[in-house]
């Protein structure tokens, strides 16, 4: 099963459509951690406010994700889903993220327009699994006002408004993308394909 977590924030249709186009099998949209048991892969999409991720803690989803990723199940967070992998976001500071990566997400501080909307380029790490076959400087589609800090685990980096931030993050089986792979044309589909085809080695 490929689990797509629905936490009632925004719209899952585009992500599901992209997974379908890539031939993903046995895609299950779910909100109940009990249903997620046995999933081979997990995707957490998301657009909107960080506050919406509170429901993940309330429903026990956070604990389920923590347990399953510890066992090596590949996990991909998209947009707010990436931000949730960090400790939290100043957008809703009282809501805790998963804490798989250190640091808080913060609003862009710039005189340029916020939110950051549109196609921007990524500098990619060569040894990243998620960024396989993606050219350095490729364009992806972003729409967000909060950004995740740079870490050594950042595998795609984008610059906006004088700030360099994490476009994608990856440690073993836990991955996230701030941009929208389902809306980033051929480049985005390749990122999703990489996530779907990557198998953890023992």
């Amino acid at each position: 099963m490929l689990a797509v977590i629905d936490y009632k924030a925004g719209n899952l249709t585009s992500v599901l459509k992209a997974l379908e186009a890539l031939g993903a099998k046995d895609v299950t949209v779910l909100a109940d951690p009990a249903v997620m048991r046995g999933a081979e892969r997990i995707i957490l999409p998301g657009v909107g406010h960080f506050q919406a991720t509170q429901v993940l803690s309330d429903s026990g989803m956070t604990d389920a994700v923590r347990a399953m990723t510890a066992q090596g199940v590949p996990f991909l967070g998209i947009c707010v889903g990436l931000q949730w992998l960090f400790e939290g976001s100043t957008e809703a500071a009282q809501v805790k993220g998963l804490g798989a990566f250190s640091g808080m997400c913060e609003r862009f501080e710039t005189r340029d327009k916020v939110p950051h909307v549109g196609w921007n380029s990524i500098a990619v790490s060569k040894d990243s699994k998620l960024m396989q076959c993606i050219d350095n400087g490729a364009y992806v589609y972003y729409t967000h006002a909060y950004q995740a800090p740079l870490l050594k685990e950042s595998v795609a980096i984008t610059e906006y408004g004088g700030c360099r931030f994490t476009g994608a993050v990856e440690r073993a089986n836990v991955m996230g993308v701030q941009f929208h792979p389902e809306k980033s044309g051929a480049t985005g589909l390749q990122v999703l394909r990489n996530f779907l085809s990557w198998t953890p080695s023992c």
């Binding site: 249709t13 585009s14 657009v47 909107g48 327009k113 939110p115 380029s121 729409t143 985005g188």
Partner: protein, 256 residues
């Protein structure tokens, strides 16, 4: 570097793409799903589908058309026309749209902006403004509703600020004076709106050549620009347009 977006717009009437001159005399330009795919292939950064008669004739948005168009589209896809409630918006999102564009209904009840933004996020709400100059002063430019048929009684700059404050994610500004003329965008009006708000502004109306796009990005301070007729009748495609813009020093998504 963040690039300037080139957006292909499909004005749809009765399930077919049409394009008028100054909102009138419509010409048939093809099937929406086919044209959207062709534009994406030809390098458009985004697709907007506007059901131009929905409000006027009281029809709902053409969910079938949206579904068919969205199916093979993996770039941002916006749908407008006939969206009067958060439920209408939800149906369009379910059909595969990423953003909705609201116009007349937002003017009739501005709380619609808050409502859709609250449920689906600000990034999913574009407030479309049909603007017409009233004399030389930009501050006097007026907002029109119902496909440009009726004056709304709002000034363009005020309405743009209110839309942002209520949680719109982007403004789609159409100059009715320039629309369909292929004589260039209203750069002064676009710049005034772009400076009045912090959210991205999409310029629309008047595209006829690459020079016009370069002008609206440089002088008009637009974040994105939209064109329909320039692409449909193969006057130019997005890729060759972007190549020309790149030579003018405008950052664009290339290769695409």
């Amino acid at each position: 570097m963040l690039t300037k977006r080139i957006i292909a717009c499909l004005d749809v009437k009765g399930g077919r793409v049409v394009k008028g001159v100054q909102f009138l005399s419509l010409k048939d330009a093809g099937d929406p799903a086919e044209l959207a795919a062709r534009h994406a292939e030809a390098g458009a950064d985004e697709i907007v589908l506007l059901d131009i008669t929905a409000t006027h004739e009281g029809r709902g948005t053409l969910i079938d058309t949206v579904q068919r168009t969205a199916r093979q589209l993996f770039i941002p896809f916006t749908v407008g026309g006939g969206i009067r409630s958060a439920d209408d918006a939800a149906a369009v999102f379910d059909a595969g749209a990423d953003k909705v564009s609201i116009n007349s209904a937002a003017l009739a009840d501005p709380r619609l902006i808050d409502a859709i933004g609250h449920s689906f996020g600000a990034q999913a709400v574009i407030v479309a403004i049909d603007a017409r100059r009233a004399g030389d002063l930009i501050e006097d430019a007026e907002v029109y509703v119902n496909g440009g048929r009726k004056i709304a009684g709002r000034k363009v700059l005020d309405w743009a600020r209110e839309a942002e404050q209520r949680g719109a994610g982007e403004i789609l500004l159409t100059s009715m004076d320039a629309d369909g003329t292929r004589a260039g965008f209203d750069c002064a009006l676009t710049a005034a709106v772009s400076e009045a708000v912090q959210i991205p502004v999409i310029a629309s109306g008047g595209a006829g050549s690459a020079v016009h796009f370069a002008e609206v990005f440089k002088l008009g301070k637009a974040d994105a620009a939209l064109a329909a007729s320039i692409f449909h009748f193969s006057v130019s495609d997005a890729r060759s347009l972007k190549e020309q813009l790149q030579q003018e020093g405008i950052p664009v998504r290339l290769p695409c």
